[in-house]
Amino acid sequence: MKKLLNVALGVLTAIGGFVDIGDLVTNAQVGARFGLSLAWVTILGVVGIIVFSEMSGRIAAVSGRATFDLVRERLGPAMGMANLLGSMGVTLLTYVAEIGGVALAFQLICGVDYLLLFPAVGILVWLILWRAKFSVIENLFGLLGLALIVFVVALFHLGPDWSQLGHSAVSFHPPKPEAWSTWAYYGVALFGAAMTPYEVFFFSSGGVEEKWGVKDIGVMRTNVLLGFPLGGVLSVAIAACSYVVFHPLGASIDTLGQVGMPVAIALGKIGLAIALLGFVAATFGAACETGLSTGYSIAQYFGWQWGKGVRTDVAARFHVVLLLSTVVALGILATTIDPVQVTEASVVFSALALPLTYFPILVVANDHDYMGEHVNGRMMNALAMIFMVVLTVVALAAIPLMIWTRMGA
């Protein structure tokens, strides 16, 4: 059990990147409209986030410095501030969406409108961020989030035409009547979601919270190699279930309720109950991840004491930031904006921040002063450079595609 808990950080980080409220709906939407023709993007995103979170995890383990710390140090205060404003915006918007997402999941359980539930959810999230130990947060939501594996089980029970699924996965073009531009837009959205900056902020800060040292590099790598592929598997499973059930109807997905229906159809009420548990755990976990990341980014830019690993009063400013973020998030939710749409928009904007976030990581991971003998090997550098190119392309394409396809309509 102890060994299992060691990878909770990786699993929780992956949950925020692959099955948060936005991804739950987007993956189902992609499945319903495009089948598995974008599964390769998910796989690409998994590899990309593995590469960069391993680097940021290694940096955290060897030097005790978390990622946003490095962003200001390598890019300077002005560029660092630009990055901070951009990432904070995205992370905060995602935090808004996740709190809304938890409320939406509870609405599916109890029928009460999510607009009545979200204030209580927000307060609960903040209380947990304030009081609960970091290990409790990561273990609880990391493990419970694994309930989403029910989608894999459901897929088998739906008895799909596997050759059709296979064809869809290797087709590399949108199924009729979808357009290339919409296909590309969703590809960019999926990739941006898989590699969202707050994942590395959270993972590296979590590593520092867990007081990783050089001897923990192995554990860190296990986290990365288990957590993110699992996230990818869940993403693809949700898309595949949605494809099997909704594609024949020509339906599009925009609510969480639709996402869970294939599980109910395949496995009945028990399966649905597990899926609902998974929805709550995943959205709650993602809320904790993004909430903490707002605090991590600001504190690491200004040099303030941060973290759940120290007493609350010792990291007073950090906790004030968390409180303010929660208040702002609740304020935004009170405008009755749709949480799912918020996160879909924020993912596209986060695609812009990708190069600025990952470049400093790459530079520092090669710096002997920082890393001693633990600098990147050649393979790692080659992989990382390929992804830097991909990231830059995605960053440049994100906004134009969003405008051109009217957000994937």
């Binding site: 029928g111 109807l249 159809i265 309509a409």
Partner: protein, 138 residues
């Protein structure tokens, strides 16, 4: 999320907006149909939430389309679309009412009507899709 301001007949492609609205309403209808068909595999609040949210999203889609002025030649088709969407909206309202009341006996009838509406919207979608566009698009 389409254009913020209602477009003039010359500027916006009514056809694209109509297709999007028909698609949204059609998805809502299919989702509720699916949910009712499998109502014994869903929890009460879950089914209710699906029905409520489907009714809302269909209503929003219809309202959005009615704000768009069709170009002259399409006025007749626009009326057909609007009436089909209105019928679908009221059917979804009936479904939501039955679900909230937990009126199982009504489900079979609703499923039939939803299937018919689904077909009707599907045919409508194909007819609109086949129309020549009212402006050239990239």
């Amino acid at each position: 999320m389409s254009a913020c301001a209602p477009g003039t007949p010359d500027e916006d492609s009514w056809r694209v907006d109509a297709l999007r609205s028909i698609g949204d309403v059609s998805s809502a209808v299919s989702s509720v149909q699916l949910a009712l068909q499998h109502h014994d595999r869903l929890f009460g609040p879950y089914l209710q939430t699906v029905a409520v949210q489907a009714e809302d999203s269909a209503g929003t889609a219809s309202t959005k389309l009615s704000a768009v002025q069709p170009p002259e030649p399409y006025q007749g088709r626009s009326d057909t679309v609007t009436s089909a969407l209105d019928d679908a909206d009221s059917l979804l309202t009936d479904a939501r009412i039955a679900v909230v009341r937990r009126d199982d006996s009504a489900y079979a009838g609703l499923i039939q009507r939803l299937t018919k509406t689904s077909d009707r919207l599907s045919r409508l979608e194909n007819r609109i899709r086949a129309l020549p566009d009212d402006r050239s698009r990239p």
